[in-house]
């Protein structure tokens, strides 16, 4: 297996992991240059993107002939997120009505499948937002008009996600659909609407 980061080849024996996900984690944690993040992954010559969360687990080490990582600075990634964040949040919002309908109509198996995927995206987005504010030095507590501060919005979002987990444990699917529809949806809309303002604060 040939591994390289930004054109610099790496010794294969230094990289741990039996599948692509573990290998990428090891590379990200232990081998990336400081203040850089993975921007693109080329697997056997082709761009690799995860259609589903954790799809990289399905690619075993023996299937990998070449793995090329192209990195970007944290600032580049943050700018990319600020540019594309509203679209990301909009597509997450688009998926919510279907999930709530499935829960309300009792198709719990399919609803949970979509819901878990949504939650994973939500956690990634929140973690990305926190990183972006740190990297770009955006004031956490500054108020954005009627939308309040990012700090208060993220705090409220954390409360909603804890509430969702508790309701999920109780298998109260109607209430879960309620919280998704009536509490999380407006919160994500507000967050989406804050991103252009956050972007304008970056120089």
């Amino acid at each position: 297996m040939i591994i390289s980061i930004d054109g610099r080849p790496m010794e294969e024996s230094l990289v741990r992991g039996d599948n692509l996900e573990d290998i990428l984690s090891d590379l990200a944690e232990n081998h990336l240059p400081q203040n850089r993040m993975v921007g693109e992954v080329l697997l056997n010559g082709l761009t690799f993107t995860e259609e589903l969360p954790h799809a990289a687990v399905e690619v075993s080490r023996t299937e990998i002939d070449s793995l090329v990582l192209l990195t970007l600075t944290s600032e580049d990634i943050s700018r990319h997120f600020l540019n594309n964040g509203p679209n990301i949040l909009s597509s997450m919002l688009d998926s919510l009505p279907k999930i709530t309908e499935l829960f309300r109509l009792g198709d719990e198996a399919e609803a949970n499948e979509h819901y878990l995927r949504f939650l994973e995206s939500l956690h990634l987005t929140i973690s990305m937002l926190e990183k972006v504010t740190r990297v770009m030095d955006i004031p956490y507590e500054a108020s954005v008009g009627e939308l309040g501060s990012l700090e208060s919005r993220l705090g409220w979002l954390a409360e909603i996600t804890s509430q969702l987990l508790r309701i999920q444990e109780e298998n109260d699917w109607i209430y879960l659909a309620d919280v998704l529809e009536y509490e999380l949806t407006p919160e994500l809309e507000a967050l989406r609407d804050m991103l252009p303002d956050m972007k304008s604060r970056v120089h």
Binding site: R104, L105, G106, N171, W173, I174, Y182
Partner: protein, 231 residues
């Protein structure tokens, strides 16, 4: 002034006196808790589980009307058979769109609770409460519409009703097919017109080879085979 429960029950009394008496005597379900929804309407939890939206139960019931299941029922001319009344939001929404709605509620105490909180007086003429699966025989072909939280409260009963409807489906489909044929009544000459014809029973009997076939029976069997291969 007569309270809501009495007004609902008086209307039911005219339509189904036996059920009205059972509802009057019933106890409301254990651990049933009425809460105000965010919209101000009453909502219900049983054993801590929500039976309706805690925010807007009326809007939630309206989404059921737009579901694939209900549009399919409407398109095929099937009668919705709602399993689980809860407080009645879904039943009332369905009664606004269908001439006839069958309601299966295994617990008369739940009907009592619903009658105490929502107004059924306008909708009752369109609602038929079923208490035993055999009651399906009196009504046109139905599509079982589960109220999911109620199904969780009465899983065994739900399976029983589902099995009954499934067993009835081929006969209902065949009857509908025959009734749509021009001159179908001529095929049934010799049958007692006052009694519903058990076409499925007839076909099953024929397959077991019991007795010679009349011309009408032969035609019915042939049509049955045609509908099976045409499906």
């Amino acid at each position: 002034m007569v309270d809501l429960f009495e007004r609902n029950l008086n209307n039911l009394l005219e339509l189904d006196p036996e059920l009205a008496a059972r509802v009057r005597m019933a106890s409301v379900p254990d651990q049933a808790l009425i809460l105000p929804a965010r919209s101000g309407r009453p909502t219900l939890t049983v054993k801590g589980i929500s039976l309706h939206s805690r925010f807007d139960p009326v809007a939630e019931a309206e989404t059921l009307l737009k579901s694939h299941m209900i549009t399919e029922a409407g398109g095929k001319g099937l009668v919705p058979a709602l399993f689980g009344l809860g407080l009645g939001y879904q039943a009332l929404a369905l009664a606004g769109s269908f001439e006839l709605v069958l309601v299966i509620e295994p617990d008369p105490g739940m009907v009592k609770l619903a009658f105490s909180h929502l107004d059924f007086t306008q909708a009752l003429p369109r609602l038929r409460f079923l208490t035993a699966p055999s009651a399906f025989e009196q009504y046109p072909a139905a599509l079982l519409v589960p109220h999911p939280p109620s199904v969780r409260l009465h899983r065994t009963a739900f399976r029983l009703w589902t099995d009954q409807l499934e067993a009835r489906r081929p006969a209902a489909e065949l009857n509908k097919f025959l009734m749509d044929l021009p001159g179908w009544e001529e095929l049934l000459v010799g049958f007692d017109s006052a009694q519903p014809v058990d076409l499925l029973g007839l076909v099953r009997a024929v397959h077991r080879g019991t007795g010679p076939l009349s011309e009408g029976e032969t035609l019915i069997l042939l049509l049955h085979e045609l509908t099976k291969t045409g499906r």
